[in-house]
């Protein structure tokens, strides 16, 4: 067993875990943040996308021990309060950017990182940036519209 201390959504947690435990399993099953979804466990679908020190990363491609000392953000960190949505979340609802909701947490975290990097992306840039996140339900256009619709204020202050 190895001790891991990390910060998740602003809270510092310490756990001992096996060296081989995937970060995705650690987040979901040991820490209880089940908003991070697992769709392939081989780094392709993007459902498990979280932010690691502000950068998007695939939780299924990291081991929990590799996250020692790092800052993680999951979908649970987005909403400012239990009865309000973050602007990106609101944009997804307004534009019907989700259907079954399974890809949604990964999409939202990818969108957050992309808007932090580029406050005024073009449609093409959005499509390229989210091409690493599979959605089987929407056909993507509504997700693209959602991301493009997020106000510039939000884009600049992630």
């Amino acid at each position: 067993m190895v001790d891991v201390t990390l910060t998740i959504n602003g809270t510092t947690v310490s756990r001992s875990t096996t060296p081989r435990r995937l970060l995705s399993d650690f987040i979901r099953e040991d820490l209880g943040y089940t908003g991070t979804h697992v769709g392939c466990e081989h780094g392709y679908c993007g459902a498990c996308t979280i932010l690691v020190d502000g950068e998007p990363a695939r939780a299924c491609l990291m081991l929990a021990v590799q996250a020692d000392g790092l800052q993680l953000e999951t979908v649970e960190s987005l909403a400012p309060s239990p009865d309000a949505l973050h602007e990106i979340q609101q944009a997804f609802q307004d534009n019907h950017g989700l259907q079954c909701g399974f890809c949604t947490p990964g999409m939202l975290m990818t969108a957050k990182a992309l808007l932090a990097d580029n406050a005024t992306p073009t449609e093409e840039e959005v499509r390229e940036q989210i091409a690493g996140n599979l959605c089987r339900c929407t056909g993507y256009s509504q997700i693209v519209d959602a991301i493009l619709s997020v106000g510039p204020v939000v884009r600049e202050t992630p």
């Binding site: 096996t18 081989r20 435990r21 399993d25 979901r28 099953e29 943040y33 089940t34 908003g35 991070t36 979804h37 697992v38 769709g39 392939c40 466990e41 081989h42 392709y44 679908c45 459902a47 999951t74 979908v75 649970e76 987005l78 909403a79 949505l85 979340q89 997804f92 609802q93 307004d94 019907h96 989700l98 259907q99 079954c100 909701g101 399974f102 890809c103 949604t104 947490p105 939202l108 959005v126 499509r127 390229e128 989210i130 091409a131 690493g132 996140n133 599979l134 959605c135 089987r136 339900c137 929407t138 056909g139 993507y140 256009s141 509504q142 997700i143 693209v144």
Partner: protein, 790 residues
Amino acid sequence: MTIRETNPRHFGSRAARSEDPRFLTGQGRYVADLTNVGTVHARFVRSPFAHAKVISVETSEALATPGVLAVFTGSDWADIGITCVSSYPGFQSSRMPILAGDTVRYNGEAVAMVLADDEYVAEDAARMVFVDYEPLQPLVDIADALADGAPRIHEDWEDNVFVKRRFVSDGFQDALDAAPHVVTQKWEMARHSGTPIECRAVVATYEPGRDHLTVWTSTQIPHLIKSGLAAALGRSEDGIRVVSPDVGGGFGVKAQLYPEEVACAQAAIALHKPIRWVEDRREHLLTAHHSREHMHEATMAYDDDGRILAYGVEVRVNMGPYSVFPWTATMDTGMAMGILPGPYRVGEYSASGFPVATNKAPFGAYRGVSRPAACFTTERMLDQVARERGLDPLEVRRRNLLQSEDFPHRSIGGLVYDSGTVRECLELLVEWTNYEDLRVDQERKRADGRLMGIGVVPFIEQTAHTSQEFLQRGVPIVFGYETSKLRLTPDGRLIISASIHSHGQGLETTLAQMAADALGIGLADIRVEFGDTDQVPYGSGTFASRSAVLAGGAARLASLELRDKLARVAAYIFEAAAEDIVFTDGHVSVRGTPTRAMQLSELCRIVYQRPEQIPPGETPSLEVSTTYDAPPGTGTYTSAAHLAVVEVDAETGRVQIDDYAVVEDCGRMINPMIVEGQITGGVAQGIGSAMLEEFVYDDQGNLMTTTLMDYLMPTATDVPRVRIRHIETPSDTVAGVRGMGEGGAIAPGAVLAAAVEDALLPLGPVVVDRLPLSPERVLRYADRARSNGR
């Protein structure tokens, strides 16, 4: 029966979805998110062979692994399995084992189940189960299985065809013989599947004290899973509860009873512990039921003007080894035989269907079921007719399409088209996309050496079909009706419990929209429940573009009954006539007398808590359960037309989709935003079918595409923006709606194949006869076109 609200507020609006907030905040509850104290993790040992004798299964090392509680093998559960016998005469039945016994019949079939207190340990231990196989000759392709002297997939069968069915109209042969022109062509669609982003997952618990089993599973059909489990396990249905919580996409893949569901239930009973199995992506691609692998041999006779005189198709589908529950092995062949004539006047018709047993993975439903293949074949045939007669493909459609006056229409395929606006959809599409200008633009591009192509396809789709249709399909459980139970709470909120489910279709919102207006209640005050068989009425679940029509219709009817009762109570209290009671925005009042009004919540409270104030003879209850089966039960038809513009790069094989436009008529729309979302998502899946997706097997029957790097689904850069327009012709169902969940996925294969074939024409004529149009395959077509052109 068309019931319209005089003042619809919610029906027809682009209401934001009620289910969104929980999905957006990570609070959705999918099966893999559930926790149970003391959970035991399951891992299946799967066959590396497509066809083999199982000589022995050695489990002692696995059992000796610390943390392992049990290992089950085929011999433990030899007497249970999944059967689904069609009532068609001559049907050869199969039994899908829970764990394979002495024979494995497809790559990935489970031979053992390892149970451990940790998921990682279960996976380690599964590698310590040693199975001795004696490989047998695998029957991979349809031709292998039909070859003379081919070994039998099932020893007691006469051959490898589940059932042979044939229909020939009386004048077919004469029409064929007399026709001036005949085209014959073979068409193929690759095996692929719905492949939701959430894989399958099951949690099963057993309470010995109550002899009660609960199975949480990611399924579209909770009650049917319960009935199927009861049959497989020999248990009574009251001792089983199936719960399907949030489902991360279904698309048909999750509309079958799977051996893993039975295995987890059986293990929970055996160990008295909660059992959890979360499928990994490799298992999903190997074993979650595949679909779409059709091969059609079609003959079309036509006159000088390109009018169809006779049409004959032999349909063969590669079904894998087993008949699946609840569909049997005849669904795809049967549906193709019915719908192949499509929206056209077909004078004489012949169809035969051969569901062929092979050593590929079992075959189940995928959005559109069979219709994508049928549409592909019929539309591709018409494109050949157009080319041979020197006509524009659009013109050939116009000459053959059914006209408004032809509806209702009993098709020669045996279906009853209640209504149809295919012609109207096509004409609007043509006008809206400036079809004539597109052809001019194409000439210009061709002159510049660019390969631009256009595909245009109208189709008609059976939706909301119920008992009459399923009776004809010979399935052992005849689906039909759906039931919605509406309850008003004492504080005036509405709970709708429905027998269907929702896995992205937004039915939590649209069912509320169906029920809201009659009661003047806001969507925020309505909660919709699905998926828990202890909570929701019996019914079939969600598949086949039926849920909004049937469960929505039931909800609408129940809401009207509740309104009538509330109106009687309010009339008594207000000393007014029940007809004068109006319900708006959470208020109940007497028409024209605004002073006589109260909150809906107050009225509900009176019914439940002050029964002495309600009229004599009324019960103090506000609960109505209504079942709706959309008579006559043969479905209401949705019409549509799709158009695509592509440009092909003949050096790389890349196909760029420059435009994709859809005109459709799904009747009155409950929520246009959701309708458009379903169409866009369906088209995206259809583009996957057309361009990317294929389960590739090697000649030994091993699946080669077992990761998402090999099995390619469309990404945001593959799917264009789909442009959509609507025609709204009310149907005869409650509220005038038609089903529309699958339509988007039906035409893209036919449209894009036509567009690519059209694009390649300057190189030479070629028939695009197989999907998907991967770059390699497009290059091969381009080569063939060049050599034909020489």
